[in-house]
């Protein structure tokens, strides 16, 4: 607790602690093409990886010419993990990613109800709630390598991404994602 490590991109990459960052202004929704490249790549990869529990984990929403890729933001203290009744959704201890054990998912849609980013999708036919798993076992996530515009980027700068998300989340969602720094722990314990 009293060890304050600094972020280090190389070390993060080595440890596999990576995130997928969004740059919505770069996204043009792959206009003129039949499919969004990231969605197609994700769909293919998920079919390979999860079989029955396939389907793209990334989606692109459009409004007035603006495109917005919707993908899991991998919250700390994730609301979807809290809300998951069967315990299918969990935090992976090694990578810090919020993962899903789809065998346990019963389709109660509690996670859909609480995800503040709308990043969890109800798959009606197979009756499960799908969510991005960060492709942590891959060198580069398929959606990232498929994106020609660099609107999706894999980054290892944990703190920065966390801070940035916290900033977003705080502006949008207030106390819901309030976090106390480790520094306070230190103070409290003397």
């Amino acid at each position: 607790m009293d060890k304050f490590k600094l972020t280090n991109l190389k070390a993060d990459l080595k440890k596999g602690r990576t995130e997928i960052m969004l740059y919505p202004s770069k996204c043009d929704g792959c206009e003129g093409e039949e499919f969004h490249a990231c969605i197609k790549a994700c769909e293919e990869h998920m079919k390979e990886k999860y079989g029955k529990y396939s389907g793209a984990r990334v989606s692109i929403k459009k409004k007035n010419g603006k495109f917005f890729p919707v993908i899991c933001h991998n919250c700390d203290e994730a609301p979807c993990v809290d809300a998951c009744m069967p315990g299918a959704r969990y935090k992976d201890a090694e990578t810090g990613w919020t993962l899903t054990n789809y065998k346990k998912c019963v389709g109660c849609w509690m996670c859909v109800m609480v995800c503040p980013f709308g990043a969890i999708e109800r798959v009606e036919g197979s009756h499960f709630a799908s969510k991005c798993d960060g492709c942590i076992d891959e060198d580069v996530p398929k959606c990232v390598s498929a994106c020609k515009r660099n609107a999706l980027l894999r980054t290892g700068i944990k703190n920065y991404s966390y801070e940035r998300r916290l900033m977003v989340a705080k502006k949008m969602y207030g106390p819901y994602v309030k976090m106390h720094y480790a520094g306070i722990i230190k103070d409290k314990r003397g």
Partner: protein
């Protein structure tokens, strides 16, 4: 440090996780009156339907307790808490000492006075525990007429009916309110839900209640008599009216109880070093702006975590929660968030309906969204619940929301935030930022 957790479910285990995040060495003891390791209790209806099995109903990994170095005392009931000498007294007379105590005992099913009801009968009971589900499974096999009566059309009643229906019973729900899920749903969505139930072999009798269970010679139910005078055949009777906080064992302990346990912002009870969370506490309702008992899973986990952090010496406050629920009835998903049936005439209601497949309702208080019902299409429901919890002004988005374009709010608001620091993303080290330990967390 000796931590004792009473209750082996969502709040209790969330508390264990939070303690272990900050205190790796403290001694943790988990006491539960059930003989099982933690299982997903709301899933017992899915268990009857076969959607979850004996292998997948367990809430945590098999080695969860060993991994967290937690001592377990399953099948033991706490009879009292001695706050002066910091002891938990079990029903067999043994004593467990604690330095910090967490009470996450949840709720006990509430049974209204009902002539002929005997929970010991194999054909009658409540529906909150795994043993209840197993009992119903056995009962359905010996039921002669395959007729079941479920008293209460709330979430528990509905789930019990679905489970019994899956066992091949014909089910009748008897509900006192004018519709099923009467507190969460409004008239239109209640009707749609009831139709869906009826189509699938579950009858609904509303504005009525069971006044007497008529027993046969062996003490098992034969039929029920309703207040309206009707008599319905019944092999199985399930009471699913609701739950009350499980606080009976706290009598005389000095812990302040008003329906549920009263806690402060840090989830501490009126007695120092004793914390509580989950369905057993009275929490602050951010929508109705008053203390309220909100018995849902997400809040239990949040409260357990806040309590656990405070128990381990890390100060955290709980901002309060709100009621929200999600249920799927035969392929029809329903999500209700916050205030769905406003009484205040100053609050405005907007609805949108597409036949019997899609229904949306928004409740605004001034410019602030305070409640919503989404039926049929639930995409982006989480965004609405975040907006409601946050209290964001979004009246201008009401048409978009009604049409189902919930993401338009995110695009407009987040798009800008996301692009503020764009050129700044690939900067190196931040010397002043401590690393967040995202590992070892759950």
């Amino acid at each position: 440090m000796k931590y004792v957790i009473i209750g082996n479910s969502y709040a209790g285990l969330s508390c264990v996780d939070a303690i272990r995040r900050f205190d790796k060495t403290g001694e943790i003891t988990i006491i539960s009156d059930e003989p099982y390791k933690a299982y997903a209790r709301p899933l017992i209806s899915y268990y009857l339907e076969g959607k979850t099995t004996d292998e997948t109903i367990w809430y945590k990994d098999d080695n969860y307790y060993e991994k967290n170095d937690a001592r377990t005392m399953f099948g033991k009931t706490v009879s009292s808490v001695d706050t002066a000498s910091k002891n938990v007294v079990l029903d067999d007379g043994s004593i467990v000492k604690y330095d910090k105590l967490f009470i996450g005992t949840g709720g006990v099913p509430f049974v209204p006075p009902l002539e002929g009801f005997n929970p010991a009968s194999p054909m009658m009971g409540t529906f909150t525990k795994l043993n209840d589900a197993k009992k119903m499974e056995a009962a359905s096999k010996v039921a002669k007429n395959k007729e079941a009566i479920v008293i209460g059309g709330g979430l528990i009643g509905l789930k019990a009916s679905e489970g019994l229906r899956a066992l091949g019973m014909h089910v009748t729900i008897v509900e006192l309110l004018p519709r099923v899920l009467g507190l969460a749903l409004d008239e239109i969505s209640g009707q749609i839900t009831a139709k869906r139930l009826n189509k699938n072999g579950i009858d609904t009798v509303t504005n009525d209640t069971v006044i007497k269970i008529n027993l046969d010679g062996t003490g098992n139910p034969e039929s029920v008599t309703l207040k309206s005078g009707r008599e319905l055949i019944a092999d199985i009777v399930v009471v699913g009216v609701g739950v009350r906080p499980n606080v009976a064992f706290l009598e005389g302990s000095g812990i302040k109880v008003d329906r549920g346990i009263i806690v402060d912002k840090t989830m501490m009870t009126s007695v120092e070093d004793i914390y509580a969370g989950g369905d057993v506490v009275v929490t602050y309702d951010v929508i109705n702006k008053r203390p309220n008992i909100i018995a849902i899973v997400p809040l239990a986990c949040e409260q357990g975590r806040i309590a656990g952090a405070n128990m381990a010496g890390v100060y955290r406050e709980y901002p309060g929660g709100m009621g929200l629920n999600s249920v799927e009835i035969y392929g029809l998903p329903i999500i209700t968030i916050g205030l769905t049936n406003p009484n205040d005439p100053s609050q405005s209601v907007f609805t949108y309906q597409e036949g019997e497949t899609i229904y949306r309702k928004l409740v605004y208080s001034g410019e602030i969204l305070v409640g919503a019902i989404l039926l049929g299409n639930i995409d982006g429901a989480g965004i609405l619940s975040a907006i409601i919890r946050q209290g964001a002004k979004c009246l201008s988005y009401k048409d978009e929301f009604l049409k189902g374009n919930i993401f338009s709010f995110v695009i407009d608001n987040e798009f800008e935030i996301y692009n503020i620091n764009e050129g700044y993303a690939i900067r190196g080290d931040f010397k002043d930022l401590p690393e967040f330990s995202r590992t070892n967390w759950r």
